[in-house]
């Protein structure tokens, strides 16, 4: 028998075995979004501004050494000086301290409202999408009713029935705002429920917990982050609108909206009393809006280069 010459095969070792391996580190969705966000100069600038503002509203009153509600009747309507960095208002209170405290209240209101909106919206939207059928139908009608009552009407009525304190302001602002979040969540979850990869996961026997944790949540988080980033400036704005209408917070509480409406009354002769709180408001809102814009681009996988 002829021994076949076995030179058709050469041992070449296993050095090339990892050629098929992914050379670059795998990056998650979040890492990718962060990477793209970092490349957006406007968004990064917004983050810096926001961090500065947050530091300022927390530590500002300590820095300047004035209480925001300390009145000095003899020192009213002063221009900025070394003593009072932004000057004083019509009751002789330090405007810098007031802007800081007002900004703190405005930011706090916006953050709390956004949290409520996201939590309630997610739960409501999730239930609608999960159960479907008549539950979905009824819950959608409720949303429809809530959304077609003029927003301001609801807010004013809530403020009247409760009182002019911070908690009732929170309730008033939140009472209909979650509707949009709920609708958006419902849409996304319905879409995901019928998507191929969820079906694949389910047919591979993945438990519901895994489907929710690995597929539903990561795929909705982008929308939620966006929702948050655009809601915050909205709330700040709405609070200031209520301030203009005189149905917002009452003294001694203050907020940027209240300060702007006070400053606007004095704008002809003491324009700085308007400009400082207005500038703070515009800065915060602008930074959040621009950050939201950047996030939208960063989180949208379709915009990947």
């Amino acid at each position: 028998m002829e021994q076949a010459a076995d030179n058709r095969f050469v041992i070449i070792g296993c050095a090339d075995a990892d050629k098929e391996a992914i050379a670059r580190p795998t990056i998650t969705y979040a890492q990718d979004a962060w990477r793209r966000l970092r490349k957006n100069p406007i968004a990064m600038a917004s983050i810096v501004v926001l961090v500065l503002m947050v530091v300022l509203v927390i530590f500002g009153p300590l820095l300047c050494g004035w209480e925001y509600d300390y009145m000095q009747p003899t020192l009213k309507n002063l221009p900025p000086s070394a003593e009072h960095w932004f000057g004083t208002d019509m009751l002789g209170r330090d405007i810098f301290a007031r802007v800081c405290v007002g900004g703190r209240v405005s930011l706090l209101i916006a953050l709390v409202c956004t949290c409520v909106q996201v939590v309630v919206g997610c739960a409501y939207g999730g239930i609608m999408a999960y159960f479907g059928g008549w539950v979905d139908n009824i819950m959608m009608r409720v949303i429809e009713v809530m959304m077609s009552i003029p927003y301001l009407l609801v807010v004013i009525i809530v403020m009247m029935v409760l009182d002019n304190s911070v908690p009732s302001l929170l309730v008033a602002l939140c009472v209909t705002s979650w509707c949009n979040t709920a609708r958006a969540m419902r849409g996304v979850i319905l879409q995901l429920k019928s998507s191929e990869y969820v079906m694949a996961a389910q047919s591979l026997g993945a438990p519901a917990r895994r489907v929710i944790l690995k597929h539903l949540i990561p795929n909705t988080i982008g929308i939620l982050i966006l929702n948050t980033a655009t809601s915050i400036p909205n709330y700040i704005f709405q609070e200031s609108t209520l301030g203009f209408l005189g149905i917002g917070l009452q003294p001694p509480n203050t907020s940027l909206g209240v300060m702007i409406s006070l400053g606007q009354a004095a704008m002809e002769f003491y324009p700085l009393q308007l400009i400082f709180p207005a500038a703070a408001l515009v800065l915060i809102v602008l930074a959040f809006n621009l950050l939201g814009d950047g996030l939208r681009d960063a989180l949208d996988p379709k915009l990947r280069k």
């Binding site: 009145m71 009182d163 002019n164 003294p251 001694p252 009354a265 002809e268 002769f269």
Partner: protein, 592 residues
Amino acid sequence: MKKRTFALLLAAVMACSALAGCGGGNAAPETTQPSAGPQTPDAQGTQLAEKQEIQLHWAAANFYSFDNNANYAAEEIQVQSHVLEGLVRPTTDEAGNQILAPAGAERWDVSDDGLTYTFHLREYYWSDGVQVTAQHFVDSFRRIGDPRNAFDFASFIGDIVGGEALYTMDTETASDADIEAAKEALAVKALDDTTLEVTLANPAPQFLSKVGATYLYPVRLDVIEAAGELYDTDYTTHVWCGPFVVTGFVKDNSMTLEKNPTYWDAENVHLTRVTLINIDEVSTQNTMFKNGELAAIVPTGDYVQPYREGLAGDNYSYVHGDFPGVSYFYFNRGGNSTSGLMESQKVRLAMSLAINREEFTQVVFDRYYAAYGFVPYGVQNGELTFRDDVTEPLKAEFDAYALDNEKLRALFKEGMEELGDTRELSEVTITYICTGDTAIKRQQQEYWKNAWETALGITVNVNVLGDSSLFREERNAGRYDIGQAGWNGDYNDPMAFVEMWSSHGTSIRYSGWTEERAAQFDTFIDRLNAEPDPAGREKIFAEAEQWIVCDEVAAIPYMYSDTILCVSNQIQGMTFPFVGPRFDFSRAYVVA
């Protein structure tokens, strides 16, 4: 359980009737009196501008109706006083004194007992050519008193025989025939076309000032019937008899008045067109006044000082006069006050003496006058100006305590002990209710809280209600100790400021201002009704005021209103009646 609260309008009740200009003495040093009354342009030798048209700011949202009987807001009076002509017209004479000038009535006689007024009407016409007759006044008086109409100022006929019986009828129980009979019984008679006779129930010298109010100007029943439901809102259904006629109206926005060529005194009316327009934003008003687009402006808040000091240019004159308004605090006397302390006169007095009125008016408003009494400057009783003759009752007490915290706290504590309350001052919390939708109100609240806490060592809980309706609910439920109010006189007589505490008054409904307390106060009113002589009345008024602010401490008055206006130098002859329309431009003119 019926809880009661007394007190009045928070936002100034713009319910001024009529009567003369802003004359009279005044305590405030920098007061300049408004320009003297109407002067004909020729007398001054000034040149009239070709275009006799002006524009004024006017809070249009407060104009509700063209029906002068139904009116109740200052903005309505501003219009009606220029398009209708009543019996008398409140204005100022050439020296700037307030007078009631003959208008629709050429002259009038008062009987010796002060009970019968006979008005002799001049020959003047409505814009449709019908003569204004005494019957039109009779119709007006009866109509405003008709309880089915429920007109706000129905009580203005209360001085007349049969008046009170008419407007207090209960529409639930009284039949239409009863009401018609009561209207017939009202002692207002047209003796002939030009003679009107009114019989009063008691000599009430303030009656003449009431007929100067637009509510009692004449009406045409045939016009009302023809207009039907459009009478309130559609000016084209109306006829006019005043110096101007309405030629345009845009709801909540603007009103156009044009000269009435058939007005009996048309030769002294120079403006051909007046536009009243609603400008919500103060800064917009300011911009327009600066650009010469507004004839006058009423500066408020932070705008007062720059206008007073001339920072806003030099093309205007600054007018500072009296206004019949008082701002005060009242107490929850219903026995259910939050702190339980408001029944003690000493506690109330301590709170009244603990506030520095001078500093308050200076710091918060930079205008107005500190009030140590209840009747404001400029209010007249016949020929006498009350505040010129009667010193403010609270002044002496205030000077005695001189804001000494120790003495004030001792007084407060003493009052507490009388009620058997042994708490420390630091444990006492007083609830102060108010509304607060404007910057200026917020400042006030913070000021008062601070002032009482510093002086008395107590805690003041400020409960700011969202709007005046909420405020009333809270007040009527008695969940407070002290509340803030303002009262503007409807007519020019001290009676307008003391009557509210009587059982006829409006305070009776609120807080613990009980029937018994009101009845106690009624003795002053009874004495006043029996006393036609101004000097005698003045004495009784002084006693009544002493009782309100010192003996009983029914209220803590803290501020009298004033009026501040800036008028463009282009406009001459404009007057500013004390209790009538804010601007009387009927005899004004534009100089070249």
